[in-house]
């Protein structure tokens, strides 16, 4: 006997099930871009202006990356020290690290930036008024450029969050590892450097990558400190040219695209690094394939 006739809806569902999930997802992305493009076209999106100005805005990339790299290096240093202090029996180290984490997680990043950029110079002025004998070498470091203040604030702020990440990573290393290092007569520093931290890295790297990507985007906040035009990072540049030509849509779409591209690139490298760190933990090195949920047969 012939099969019972399928309804139109059923036939459609069966046909759809034969299309791979990835292809469908790709089509959705294309659809989103087409819709946005149409919207921009209707809103008289000025492509010529973009071609004229994209170079200038992208020229801020070096400063964005410089701020982000400086910030992450400072943050990693602070987080390592902070985590070791949070795990130490020394009350001074533990207390100072506790204050640091609590304050910098408990206040907004933008407030911390202004504290460093505008509040520190006031401390300097008042101190110099009161104690004219203070050598200038001691007080001058309190005068920070906007970029330096922003970078340090980013490092301090992210370092506080990452202290907790690093602490958890160190604690995740099995107790037997530390005991084995102790039994070999290693000093505390040798144990940390050769045994504990390399293993903690596996746990620490993925969330640290996320923090770095988040920090790259938060470099935009530095523009609120009024960075000079010559060292302006991407967001500041887009503001400058966008306001000047009244092309805010174009300027911010360009700068959003640049930040987005950056995070995509870094996410790619982060995934590679994670795979490399897995050596020593997988029996057979496998090609890491992505699994997609709900994929049809």
């Amino acid at each position: 006997m012939s099969e019972p006739a399928l309804s139109r809806g059923e036939r459609l569902a069966l046909a759809s099930a034969r299309v791979p999930f990835g292809v469908k997802t790709g089509l959705v992305w294309v659809g989103v871009f087409v819709a946005l493009g149409l919207l921009f076209f209707l809103a008289r999106f000025d492509n010529a202006w973009i071609l004229d100005n994209v170079g200038y805005i992208a020229g801020g990339l070096q400063f964005t990356l410089f701020i982000a790299l400086g910030g992450i290096v400072l943050a990693v240093l602070l987080a390592t020290l902070g985590a070791l202090a949070r795990l130490s029996a020394n009350p001074v180290a533990y207390g100072v690290a506790g204050f640091y984490v609590s304050f910098f997680r408990g206040t907004p990043l933008i407030v911390q930036m202004f504290l460093l950029y505008l509040a520190l110079p006031q401390i300097r002025t008042n101190l110099v008024d009161r104690y004219p004998g203070i050598p200038a070498e001691l007080t001058d470091p309190l005068l920070l450029t906007a970029t330096a203040a922003g970078t340090i604030a980013l490092g301090l702020n992210y370092g506080a969050y990452m202290t907790e990440i690093f602490r958890a990573g160190i604690q995740s290393v099995a107790a037997g590892q530390g005991e084995a290092a102790d039994a070999l007569g290693m000093t505390y520093l040798q144990k940390m450097r050769k045994v504990i931290l390399p293993q903690a890295m596996r746990v620490i790297i993925p969330p640290t990558g996320n923090e770095f990507i988040a920090m790259m985007k938060d470099t935009a906040l530095v523009s609120f400190l009024g960075v000079s035009v010559f060292t302006a990072e991407m967001f500041r540049r887009s503001q400058l040219v966008g306001k000047a030509d009244f092309k805010n849509l174009e300027a911010y779409v360009v700068v959003a695209g640049l930040y987005w591209a950056l995070t995509v690139v870094f996410t790619f490298f982060q995934a590679r690094l994670e795979r490399r760190l897995a050596s020593g933990y997988v029996r057979v090195p496998t090609a890491v394939g992505r699994t997609r949920g709900g994929a049809g047969v």
Binding site: A174, G176, Q177, E179, A180, A181, D182, A183, L184, G185, M186, T187, Q190, K194, V195, P198, Q199, S279, G280, Y281, V282, R283
Partner: protein
């Protein structure tokens, strides 16, 4: 403090009046014991009887609550670890090799690097010399061909043999084995026990071995020590312990494991 040369009376490890409390639980309740030059002592007893804790007190992975441990001329007790005491403990440990039940190899390092990392931490270590010695030790435990493998690619028995080589690389005066075969599949215990036996019979390495391997004890031990509820209930040469135990507790335990 360093109390002179204890090898004069050929005692390598001396434990005196050792008590260990974890909170309200008293795991060791007054243990006195000595390990002599070239001697293999097997410590056995029920789980929770304090035998592992004793071993861990010998190299200060646990601090004694009372009593002292004397190894290689260092005689130390419990109490707060000052900076000076931490350094004394570290120096004491340089003379003591330890092998753990769970191997505790460093997973991020190859077998060879595991064996090398201890000696490379010593001042003045030369990579070339340490490497040569480490390869020799891996050869000795039958794993020269696995030098470049990471621990996860090795079987449990192979991992434990690497762990033995790692401990030997520090050229210890005494070796501690904390249930070295308990985490192994039965067919893998033999290769580890064979390495331990050759250490005892060929290198005359003094060893304190916590184990339930009574065959190994009968064959290799010079002395057996039975732990029961935190004290040494009985000790003697294997033939005495196996043949004519004085205590019914020992008899009951031996009947259960043999």
């Amino acid at each position: 403090m360093r109390v002179g040369d204890v090898t004069g009376n050929d005692v390598l490890v001396r434990v005196e009046g050792l008590h260990k409390r974890f909170g309200r639980l008293e795991v060791l309740r007054g243990v006195d014991m000595a390990l002599h030059q070239g001697e293999v002592v097997v410590i056995f007893g029920r789980s929770g009887s304090g035998k592992s804790t004793l071993l861990r007190c010998v190299n200060f992975l646990e601090d004694p609550t009372e009593g002292t441990v004397e190894v290689a001329g260092y005689r130390l007790g419990g109490g707060h670890r000052t900076r000076r005491k931490r350094e004394q403990i570290r120096r004491l440990r340089l003379h003591v090799g330890m092998v753990f039940q769970q191997f505790n190899l460093f997973p991020q390092l190859t077998a060879l690097d595991n064996v090398m990392c201890g000696p490379m931490c010593l001042p003045g270590a030369e990579d070339k010399d340490v490497r040569r010695r480490a390869l020799g030790l891996l050869d000795r435990v039958g794993l020269a061909d696995k030098a470049d493998e990471h621990p996860i690619r090795l079987s449990g028995g192979q991992q434990q043999r690497v762990a033995i080589a790692r401990a030997l690389a520090m050229q210890p005066e005494v070796m501690l084995f904390d249930e070295p075969t308990s985490a192994l599949d039965p067919e893998l215990t033999g290769e580890v026990l064979a390495v331990m036996k050759s250490l005892a019979t060929e290198m005359h390495m003094p060893m304190l071995v916590v184990t339930h391997e009574m065959g190994f004890a009968r064959e290799v031990a010079d002395r057996m020590v039975f732990f029961h509820e935190g004290v040494i209930l009985e000790e003697g040469p294997p033939q005495q312990v196996f043949g004519a135990t004085r205590h019914p507790e020992t008899r009951t335990f031996l009947d259960a494991v043999l």
